[in-house]
């Protein structure tokens, strides 16, 4: 996350109720009645309920939840593919929810790119024309849009595939095209609706890595939807977990995994391997006494190193590990017996980290 923490995208009090009942379902939702109650009483389906999120510029923000929890509705409310019922969406100081049709089209062309689960490629256009299509729509001249599309394709490793038709590509390649199309638009915000969910696990991992590498250089504000907590933890700077249209927990990945807000979140986190989540900083001892006792400087680890990375250092060490921050300053120590305890099991690691 960048240091300036400037808010790029802010969602305030957003509700979406699918109904043609003249707003009765909506007012019940605002009153706080449950989704089932409202559906029974009015037939209205509550899609989103009182969403309040602020997303920092350059942040990769993940929204995670089971199907039907409203995560896809949420991302579509940002670019108004779905019209929110009440509430506001602000993008860099402009209120998207108050825009006229023309302004909204303009925002979609220049500020909000989107990547879709099933790619949404145009089967009648070849790869490069697919990538260039949003630019064509936005009135970019042909030579420029070809250039931008070609360099976006290069970014995703498909430089040689511009002339192919979408149906000649594998699923993973299609999604690369989808991603390139989003990148070529050069928007500050990229919305990704389950972009990797339709792909098989190996390809999914590759694309996650690539997205992270790309994000290092492009530094976009990304809203990333997924139903897979492992994926959320892997790619996200912060994660919002949704259930029944509401956000039930919002925090950094290790925060969510290590301190699940309720039993619903805990159920997800059971499947996540904690050894890849617990950091040196979360299990270190920061007491002045412990810090004072440090003499040997051979066993230095970074504060954001995860448990898996601490193991090799721990095995050869005879003294507590020294934890340093990015600037190289000592911030804590990990006594070896503490490291050993953390390594015994996920539960032990979690309870140590929660201490």
């Amino acid at each position: 996350m960048p240091a300036d923490r400037e808010v790029a995208l802010s969602i305030n009090g957003l509700y979406k109720v699918f109904a043609d009942d003249g707003g009765r379902g909506l007012s019940l939702a605002v009153e706080g009645r449950s989704k089932d109650e409202i559906q029974e009483e009015t037939g209205a389906v509550v899609g989103l309920r009182d969403i309040n999120i602020e997303i920092t510029r350059g942040e990769l923000f993940v929204v995670m939840g089971l199907s039907g929890c409203g995560k896809s509705t949420l991302v579509r409310c940002i670019n108004r593919l779905i019209e929110p019922s009440v509430g506001q969406v602000w993008l860099n100081g402009r209120e998207i929810t108050a825009m006229s049709d023309d302004e909204l089209r303009d925002a979609r062309r220049h500020d909000l790119a989107m990547v879709f689960q099933h790619f949404g490629l145009m089967p009648h256009r070849n790869v490069i024309d697919n990538v260039a299509l949003p630019l064509e729509v936005g009135g970019v001249a042909k030579p420029e849009r070809r250039d931008r599309a070609a360099s976006a394709l290069e970014l995703v490793g498909l430089a040689d595939w511009g002339g192919s038709m979408p149906n000649q590509l594998s699923g993973g390649m299609k999604q690369r095209v989808g991603l390139a199309r989003g990148l070529a638009m050069e928007t500050p915000v990229l919305l990704m609706d389950e972009p990797f969910s339709a792909l098989d696990p190996v390809i999914r991992r590759d694309l996650q890595d690539e997205l992270l590498a790309l994000q290092e250089s492009v530094q976009k504000t990304i809203v990333f939807i997924t139903h897979d907590l492992n994926e959320a933890v892997r790619v996200g700077d912060r994660i919002a977990i949704m259930r029944d249209g509401a956000v039930v927990q919002l925090g950094a990945p290790n925060d969510v995994v290590l301190n699940p807000a309720d039993s619903f979140v805990r159920e997800f986190t059971q499947d996540v391997r904690l050894h890849g989540m617990v950091t040196a900083a979360s299990i270190m001892d920061t007491g002045a006494e412990a810090l004072a006792g440090v003499t040997d400087d051979r066993y230095v680890v970074q504060e954001d190193a995860v448990l898996d990375e601490l193991v090799p250092a721990g095995l050869s060490a005879t003294q507590p590990l020294q934890v340093v921050n990015r600037a190289g300053a000592l911030v804590g120590v990990i006594p070896l017996e503490r490291l050993a305890r953390a390594m015994v099991s996920d539960e032990a690691a979690a309870s140590l980290a929660a201490e």
Binding site: N79, L81, L104, R105, D106, A107, R108, R109, L112, A113, M114, F116, Q117, H118, F119, G120, L121, M122, P123, H124, L133, P134, E136, V137, G138, M165, P166, N167, Q168, M185, L191
Partner: protein, 339 residues
């Protein structure tokens, strides 16, 4: 037929039944209030007719209404004569130019080029079929009739597409137009053709023009329906993606919807062609030439053998046109793949 789900030959009838009984009408949505409403409306109409129009209701009204329609048709004929003459002029010009071109091209060259097209678009076997069947027709002395029939079909289908595709595109964008159009298209397809052939003669006198127009009435509906359907049934996510780029309505239509609907539109063209062919014998009753006239004449002279040969000619032309337009449809589908 093409394995496009919307291209089945019984399509129009399926639609017709759906329109009548299920598609979005108020009756299917909530039949509880519809039944008393129907009773009140029919009862009201009966009473109005009984007291205001004729007390011998209902037996004398029909004749009166029919007579008034005739008067109205006469008025149209008397007052819009120049318009009808202009339409006739254009159609006849197209027909004659096309026929002249094909006859000038001579029959061996025409047959060779049709065979070549069959080969390029369909298969070598199809090329053999096209060449041998047309050659057979030529040796029977039916070449001029065949050319005349082909010209008639080409002009009719071209006009049908010019009318049907824009109308179908428009209907796909407007639910209201779609709702209005559906029963009209049903009527066009189910109204017995003689009913409009006779007034067509009144307006255009005997010849190819009333035949073309009568065929149009019958051949336009499937192309309108399939164009409309092709645009309406596009995958949601593709349209959503297009919308997310900030496409305007017209960009959406021109850059996404119409190109993606082309296989279905082509299936409509194929249907229209076959519909037009099925009308050639009836068309000959109002003065169209070609194989239809040969069939008609042979039957009139009680020469069933000659009638059969000319009928076979119609079958050959139908197969050739069907296979070629189907191949075009399939090529479009392949190009789009299964996204």
């Amino acid at each position: 037929m093409v394995d496009h789900p919307a291209a089945r030959p019984d399509l129009s009838h399926r639609f017709f039944l759906q329109d009548m009984f299920s598609r979005g009408g108020p009756v299917s949505r909530d039949s509880a209030w519809a039944v008393p409403l129907i009773l009140v409306v029919t009862g009201g109409m009966y009473l109005i007719a009984y007291f205001l129009i004729a007390d011998e209701f209902p037996f004398n009204v029909g004749r009166d209404v029919g007579y008034r329609l005739d008067v109205w048709l006469d008025w149209l004929k008397d007052n819009l004569g120049p318009l009808f003459q202009a339409i006739k002029g254009v159609i006849v010009w197209f027909l004659i130019s096309l026929e002249d071109m094909m006859l000038w091209f001579t029959w061996p060259a025409s047959i060779a080029s049709i065979a070549l097209v069959s080969w390029l678009l369909v298969s070598f076997r199809m090329a053999l079929f096209s060449a041998s069947s047309l050659l057979l027709l030529a040796t029977f002395g039916l070449w001029e009739s065949t050319v005349e029939t082909m010209a008639l079909i080409i002009v009719t289908v071209t006009l049908s597409i010019l009318i049907a595709v824009p109308l179908g595109v428009w209907a796909s964008q407007s639910d209201r137009l779609d709702a209005v159009l559906r029963p009209i298209l049903d009527a066009m397809q189910t109204m017995p053709s003689f009913v409009y052939l006779v007034p067509a003669i009144a307006f255009f006198s005997l010849g190819n023009t009333p035949a073309v127009l009568a065929t149009l009435i019958y051949a336009v509906p499937p192309a309108v329906r399939l164009t409309n359907l092709g645009i309406r049934q596009l995958p949601e996510e593709t349209l959503e993606a297009a919308e997310s780029f900030g496409m305007s309505r017209s960009q959406m239509l021109l850059k996404v919807k119409i190109p993606l609907a082309i296989p279905t539109i082509m299936a409509g063209v194929n249907q229209t062609t076959l519909m037009a062919l099925s009308m050639v014998v009836i068309a000959s009753l109002v003065g169209a030439g070609g194989l239809g006239l040969d069939v008609n004449r042979a039957l009139g002279r009680i020469e069933p053998g000659n009638g059969f040969l000319a009928g076979l000619g119609i079958v050959f032309v139908a197969i050739i046109i069907d296979r070629i337009t189907q191949a075009l449809t399939r090529k479009q589908q392949d190009a789009l793949g299964s996204e």
